[in-house]
Symmetry: C2
Subunit: 216 residues, 2 copies
């Protein structure tokens, strides 16, 4: 068990170092040896987890989006908002997400990101919106797949704007603004009234996730 | 007059060539001599308009946003929508805008873009939204500067998503989706009802602008 935890921590440290080196040098110019010295792990430890630079990149991209911030709620629209707000809280604080977001400036990686983690994110939010529809939370004309895709794209644009203007210090506020602008087009009035889009919503969701018992 | 028109056309050709070379090679690696041979103009003609590579870059960035697509309307919210829809129509069709949007993938240029043309775009849309507010078109809680900034960021995110997924072939549809999602949070019902956000709105606005008499 202790060995397994150490393995998870090492994997995370290697991914953080890889993400930072990729973001600073560009993916093409980055070398495994620089990632090794940044992570402070042995060559054997790195290759135990990742066979190549490509696998490191795939690992970094996969970490950019996680389903762990979903806490079951009575309102599926609230779950949908929570995923976006929790990510806005995590991104400025987690080195792997910060470096990952900077990496997205590389057009070739944008493409990989667009076809990988972003597709997962659209898929998850599409499912949540479809469930919201089944429960009668959506206005009748809403097309869940369209709304899911639009909000993921808008979230990315808001992230980029916040990165350029404020080094992400206002990201939670800006993502809150996003949901306040979109929900009236999506939610029936009785649900709209009860959805929490406050800028500190993400912080509270992340705290809640961290108090949950770890999966067995 | 003929000479002046020729000068305007040459300037445009040089900017298109510069934008394309910057987008293909990256700004740092681009050379004036490659821009010259791409544009098919003389060195003298290029330097008559632009003294340096930096001035070429500034010229390309300035062309990314124009106020010429504003046609006065009874509804200022419609003018605001028209600016975003017309740009969505132009971008896939105008080499200078296509290359400019691809250029934005360079993080250093993103910064310049964020502080230059994007600030102008937010400024213009902020003014239009403030005018809409004075005319009673906005819901009482709307903060024009906040909405203007959010929609410019969201527009950029939608542009990037459409570029990656569809080489911009669905950009007009996606920007139409954007405005349909945002207007209910912004417009009073009586105005909302009359705003045209159809995907072909931008095409019609651009056609209208091109029929207008040229400024004296």
């Amino acid at each position: 068990m202790a060995r397994q935890e150490r393995g998870i921590r090492t994997r995370r440290e290697v991914l953080e170092a890889a993400a930072e080196v990729f973001a600073e040098r560009g993916y093409a110019a980055a070398t495994i040896s620089e990632i090794l010295s940044r992570a402070g792990v042995t060559k054997g430890a790195l290759y135990f987890h990742f066979a190549s630079k490509e696998e490191l990149l795939r690992g970094v991209l996969e970490e950019q989006f996680t389903e762990k911030d979903i806490v079951p709620r009575e309102s599926k629209l609230q779950e949908w908002v929570d995923v976006g707000m929790a990510l806005a809280h995590r991104l400025p604080r987690e080195p792997l997400l910060r470096a990952g977001a900077r990496l997205m400036s590389d057009p070739k990686l944008q493409e990989l990101f667009g076809r990988g983690p972003q597709v997962s994110w659209v898929g998850l939010t599409h499912r949540l919106l479809a469930q919201a529809g089944e429960r009668g939370e959506l206005l009748p004309h809403v097309v869940p797949g369209e709304t899911a895709q639009f909000v993921v794209n808008a979230w990315n644009g808001v992230q980029l704007g916040s990165q350029i203007a404020a080094d992400w210090t206002d990201l939670e506020k800006q993502v809150s603004v996003l949901f306040r602008h979109v929900l009236p087009a999506v939610a029936v009035p009785g649900v709209l009234l009860r959805i929490d889009t406050a800028p500190d919503r993400g912080e509270r969701v992340v705290a809640e996730v961290e108090r949950l018992p770890a999966p067995a």
